[in-house]
Amino acid sequence: MSLKIGSLKRSIWVYHLACSPCNNCDIEILDVLTPRFDVERFGIVLVGSPRHADALLVTGMVNRQIKPRLQEAYRQTPKPCVVFAIGSCAVSGNFFRRSYNMAGPVDRVIKEIDPNAIVVYVPGCPPKPEAIISSVVKAIKFLDNLKKKKVKV
């Protein structure tokens, strides 16, 4: 069990899911992956398929069209996996929260199908690359706590 989480937190492979964003948060995510911040130091790699992913980077308010796709992508991701809700829209809906096509912020959509999902919130419009890296550190600390408490993931 500890081997599982110990290796997971040292090699988080991320899959980028854009769920109707305005693209600002996506540009910030791409900035995190550039040589300037070099997240490969921590084993973080961008992968091309949700089957390889350990973390889903979700941006944007989730609208009705994309909601089933997001849920399907989460179901297809091998567990244990972490969901990062990046940007104010993904965290709370921002000013789209009363919009006619809003299907709920990311955590509500994900927890509809898996109540025990691990969701990390990264507020900001858009969040700076430093904020995204600090959220990853928080997720790693959370995984560490799971390891100490011996919770089954």
């Binding site: 040292r10 091309g48 390889h52 091998p78 567990k79 244990p80």
Partner: protein, 306 residues
């Protein structure tokens, strides 16, 4: 004892550790070329352990038997190749007649298993990747066979033990014009077999997602990653054995073998960092055009005596 050879040294445990460390060296060098700091030394071990402990998702459209057998067969075939090469370098007499051809066939099994696994997954992008892998396999096998004929005809034997004995007596095959040309051809062919960048057309993460590995997850993907790491260990050892005098396992020979190994890995990594990905038709033209030409010139030069 043979089972111990296969499982521990120079088999599975040894080549996994060395292969993953080599894969780390490759990533670290890539990072330094791109002016980054790069991953820690145990990064590839973390990756593989993580993949082995994760859930395996089998797609609804897949044929589960072939889908799950493919990575296991690919892994065992690559470990067998590594074991054979290791034993022949330690003991020339362990070799039998025609083992170069056996090795050659075993080296294609990982590619064939990748093709089978990708086709069995039922994903359209994976099947496009599989088709490209088939094209690529046909493209690089042809010049590689002619280049290996340079070695075979020079030594006059298809046994690796005889080739190593010949090189121990007459000096490495690499130290001649035909040897250098054949070496270059086999180096490029192995680059294509490993799917490193100018020839990573089947995997092509920017256009096909992850191509052939698209539907693989968890332990099955981990087995394929381990296969790739072991193939990364096999290719320099294969080149050293056939062209560069083999690995002498006593005294200074070990140090020289290590330096040769590192040099070949550095060349492969720099090739992969300084070249953009080719299209599949460009890759086939490259192998059936330039590489075939070079290998035929090498063969003629060898017959003339250079």
């Amino acid at each position: 004892m043979p089972i111990l050879y296969y499982l521990v040294f120079p088999g599975f445990v040894f080549v996994s550790v060395v292969g993953l460390l080599t894969a780390w060296f490759d990533r670290k060098l890539t990072a330094r070329v791109q002016w980054r700091k790069g991953p820690p030394i145990l990064q590839n071990f973390y990756d593989v352990i993580k993949l082995l402990t994760k859930e395996v998702v089998i797609p609804e459209s897949a044929n589960p038997t072939i889908f799950l057998l493919a990575p296991a067969i690919a892994l065992s075939a690559s470990v067998l190749v590594a074991t054979m090469l290791g034993i022949y370098n330690m003991n020339y007499n362990a070799s039998f007649v025609g083992d170069l051809i056996v090795l050659w066939y075993l080296l294609t099994i990982p590619s064939i298993m990748i093709i089978l696994g990708a086709s069995a997954s039922g994903n359209p992008l994976a099947s496009v990747g599989a088709e490209r892998e088939i094209n690529q396999l046909f493209a690089y096998e042809f010049p590689m066979i002619i280049a290996l004929c340079v070695v075979i005809f020079r030594v006059g034997s298809i046994s690796i033990g005889k080739i190593l004995e010949y090189q121990a007596a007459n000096g490495p095959i690499l130290y001649s014009v035909s040897g250098v040309l054949a070496f270059i051809v086999v180096l490029f062919a192995l680059q294509a077999k490993l799917g490193l960048v100018p020839f990573d057309i089947p995997e092509a993460e920017t256009e096909l997602g992850a191509g052939i590995f698209m539907e693989y997850s968890g332990a099955a993907l981990g087995a394929f990653k381990l296969t790739k790491a072991i193939l990364l260990y096999i290719s320099p050892v294969f080149l050293i054995t056939l062209f560069w005098g083999g690995i002498k396992v006593h005294g200074l020979g070990l140090l020289w073998a290590f330096l040769k190994y590192i040099l070949i890995i550095v060349i492969m990594t720099l090739l992969r960092n300084t070249n953009p990905r080719l299209r599949i038709d460009q890759s086939i033209k490259y192998f059936w055009g330039w590489m075939t030409l070079i290998s035929i010139i090498a063969f003629i030069l060898m017959r003339v005596g250079y």
